[in-house]
C-alpha cells in the first residue's frame, strides 16, 4: 500500500516548490512585438512533496494546474520562485545537471494519442530516454530493457515493433508510462493521465500507477479534474483556483471537511453514483465562470463567485495559513480567523 501521508515536519521533502510564478506574455504587433500584458497562469504556489507521497492537484480548467506541473519540470522557464527536486534547483540547472533532473523527474501526459510519435515504434519510443541518457551500453541491452519495461506496465514484449496506432487508448497510456519509467525516475508528474480514457480502462491505469509506486517507491504529482479519482489515489490534495492555492490538506480531512467555499462547492458538484445519496445532496452551485487570469479579481480571487463573500474580500488578499495540523486554507472567513501579528 502507499506509504502513510507525511505531515510537514518529518523527513526531507523530495520536491519543494516555493512561491512559483509563471506568466505568459501577451504581445501586440507582428514585426515589432510589444508586451501588453500577461496571463498569470500560476501566481505564487508553494508546497512540498515527500518521498513516496502522491499529491493531487485539482481545480477547473484554466486554474493553472497543468502549468504548475510543466513549470516544475522546466518545460517552461519560471517567471519567479524556485523548484527544488532531489536537491537540484531546477530552473538554475544547465547541462549535465539538467540532464540529471530530467532523468529523475518524468511526466505522463493527458492525451495518449498526441504524446506518442505516430511514426516511431514502441521500441523507439520507450527506448528514447535510455538512448538520450546513455543508460544502456549497447543496442542489445537497450532492447532487453524496453521489453522489461513493457512487461512492467502490462504490455506484451512481443509488441515492441508495433506503432502507436495499433494500440487502444489504455494500452497507449501504458506505453507513455513505460517511457516515463525508462530512466528510473524518482518523481513523476501525472498530468490528467486518465481523463482521455474510458471508465473501464481508467481503473486499469490507476491500479498500474499504484502498483508501480509500491514496487518502485515513486513519488507522484497527480494533476486531475476528476475529484473522485484524486481521492482514491492521493495522500494529500491541493485545490487551485485561478493560479493560486486555496486549500491543501490530507486527503480524507480535505474531502470530509473542506473549508474553503470554493473547495466546498467543487466537491459538492461531483456526482455520486448512488441515486438515493445523489438526490438528497445539497449542492452549492457556483454562478458564472472562472474569471480571466489576465485581470484576476482583486483581493480574494474567488470573491466574485463566492457564496459567503464579505465586503473586505474584494480588497484584501487572504493569507495562506494552517488552520489545523496539515490543513491549509486561504480564506478570510474560515474559523479561526486570521489575526495579523502585532
Amino acid at each position: 500500500m502507499t506509504p502513510p501521508p507525511s505531515s510537514s515536519s518529518d523527513g526531507q521533502p523530495l520536491v519543494q516548490v516555493q512561491d512559483l510564478k509563471k506568466y505568459f506574455p501577451i504581445t501586440r504587433g507582428i514585426v515589432i512585438q510589444r508586451v501588453v500584458g500577461a496571463v498569470k497562469a500560476v501566481d505564487g504556489v508553494t508546497f512540498d512533496i515527500m518521498p513516496g507521497e502522491t499529491v493531487g492537484m485539482v481545480g477547473e480548467s484554466g486554474c493553472g494546474k497543468t502549468t504548475v506541473g510543466r513549470t516544475m519540470l522546466a518545460l517552461y522557464p519560471a517567471t519567479e520562485g524556485k523548484v527544488i527536486i532531489d536537491g537540484h534547483l531546477v530552473h538554475a540547472a544547465r547541462g549535465a545537471e539538467l540532464m540529471a533532473i530530467r532523468r529523475k523527474a518524468q511526466m505522463i501526459f493527458q492525451d495518449p494519442f498526441a504524446s506518442l510519435n505516430p511514426r516511431w515504434t514502441v521500441n523507439a519510443i520507450v527506448g528514447e530516454p535510455l538512448r538520450v541518457h546513455n543508460l544502456c551500453p549497447d543496442q542489445k541491452s537497450r532492447d532487453e530493457r524496453v521489453k522489461e519495461l513493457l512487461q512492467l506496465v502490462g504490455l506484451s514484449p512481443r509488441h515492441v515493433n508495433r506503432f502507436p496506432h495499433e494500440f487502444s487508448g489504455g494500452q497507449r497510456q501504458r506505453i507513455g508510462v513505460a517511457r516515463a519509467l525508462a530512466s528510473n525516475p524518482k518523481f513523476i508528474v501525472c498530468d490528467e493521465p486518465i481523463s482521455a480514457l474510458d471508465v473501464s480502462i481508467q481503473a486499469q491505469v490507476v491500479n498500474l500507477l499504484e502498483d508501480l509506486q509500491d514496487r518502485l517507491g515513486l513519488t507522484y504529482l497527480f494533476i486531475a479534474h476528476d475529484l473522485s479519482m484524486v481521492r482514491h489515489i492521493c495522500d494529500r490534495v491541493i485545490v487551485m483556483y485561478l493560479g493560486v492555492m486555496v486549500e491543501m490538506g490530507d486527503r480524507d480531512e480535505l474531502y470530509d471537511n473542506p473549508l474553503h467555499p470554493y473547495a466546498q462547492s467543487l466537491l459538492s458538484a461531483v456526482p455520486i453514483p448512488d441515486p438515493r445519496k445523489e438526490r438528497q445532496r445539497k449542492r452549492i452551485i457556483l454562478t458564472g465562470d472562472v474569471p480571466s487570469p489576465i485581470n484576476p479579481p482583486s483581493g480574494c480571487r474567488f470573491h466574485p463567485r463566492c457564496p459567503i463573500v464579505q465586503p473586505h474580500c474584494s480588497q484584501i488578499r487572504p493569507v495562506w495559513r494552517e488552520v489545523r495540523p496539515g490543513h491549509w486554507v486561504a480564506c478570510h472567513e474560515v474559523e479561526p480567523k486570521y489575526v495579523p501579528p502585532q
Binding site: 471508465v199 459538492s268 456526482p271
Partner: protein, 330 residues
Amino acid sequence: MTTLLDVNNLRVRFHTPEGTVHAVNGVSWTVSEGETLAVVGESGCGKSVTMLSILGLIPVPPGEIVSGAATYRGADLITMPEEAIEDIRGKDISMIFQDPMTSLNPVLTIGRQITESLRVHMGMDDQQARERAQTLLEWVGIPDAGARLGDYPHQFSGGMRQRVMIAIALACAPSLLIADEPTTALDVTIQAQIVELVQRMREQMGMAIVWITHDLGVVAGLADRVIVMYAGYIVEEADVHTLYGNPRHPYTLALLAALPRVDARRERLKAIPGAPPNLLVVPPGCPFAARCDFVTERCWAENPTLTPVDDGMGEHRIACWVDVRNGGLR
C-alpha cells in the same frame, strides 16, 4: 405513462475500408412522455449512433440502417421521407451535443442560430423570433440576453455555449430532448449548472429526455430509468434505483466497481480487464464474455437476449446467461 418513442430492433452498420462495423445490433427501447431515460456506455458502444439513426442524421453511405423502426406518436421515423422528418427534427425532437463549440456555427451570431428554428418551424417573423430568442436566453441563464444575441459563439465560454445550445434545442418546446454527453467537455462546477438547468427546464416544460453519457454519477441524480449498452447491444435495463441497488449484468457490476467515489474511499479499484471488442467481427457468443468474471461455456457459444429478471422490480431486463448472485445459470 404514454409511450412517446418506441424503438424496435434497430440495427445499424457502417461500411468502411476495414470492413463492416456492426455499431448497433438490434436494440429495442421506449421512452414515455415526460420520462428521463439515461443511455450509459463507453465509447463505441453504439449509444450515439442509435440516436443519430433515429433522427436520420447518419450519413448513408457509409452508414446503413439494416432493420428497425422508431415509432414516434404513431409514425415511423426510420422510413419517413426526409421532408417529413425535417418537420419533426428540431421541433418535436431536438438534440444537444457534447461539444458546444463544434455544434454551433462559428460565423453566425447566436441570435441568428436561435431564431432559425423559430422562423422555420413556428413561422415567426423576425421581430417575434427575436423577442422569443431573448426570452429563451434569459431562461437558460445568460446575463444581459438582449445584447448577447448579436454575439458569436467564440465570445461565450464553454458552459455558456452549452446554455445557448439548450436554448436552441428548447426553442420550439419539443416533446423529446436527446442530450448526447452534454456535460462531458465541461468542468464539474459547470456540469452541475447545466444538469440543474436541464432539470429545471424539464419541470417547466415537461418534455421527455434521453440523456446519453458514460458517467454513472450524473445518471444517478437525473434519470428515471437506465439502459446500459455494450458493443451495440443493450445488456441491462432497469429503473434507476434498481440498477444501482441491484445490478444483475456483470458489465454493470464491473462498471460500478471500477468507479472511485468522492464520498468514501475504496482500497483498490476493480478494473475491468481487456478492452471493448472490435465491432468489425461479430462474436457468436456474448460480446462481454472475454472480460467477464462470471463467464461460462454457454457465453462463448450463444449470445443471450434481453430477458426480464424476476426480482419483482418491474421492468428489469438483462442479456446474460448467468445469475450473478450465485454464479450459476439463470
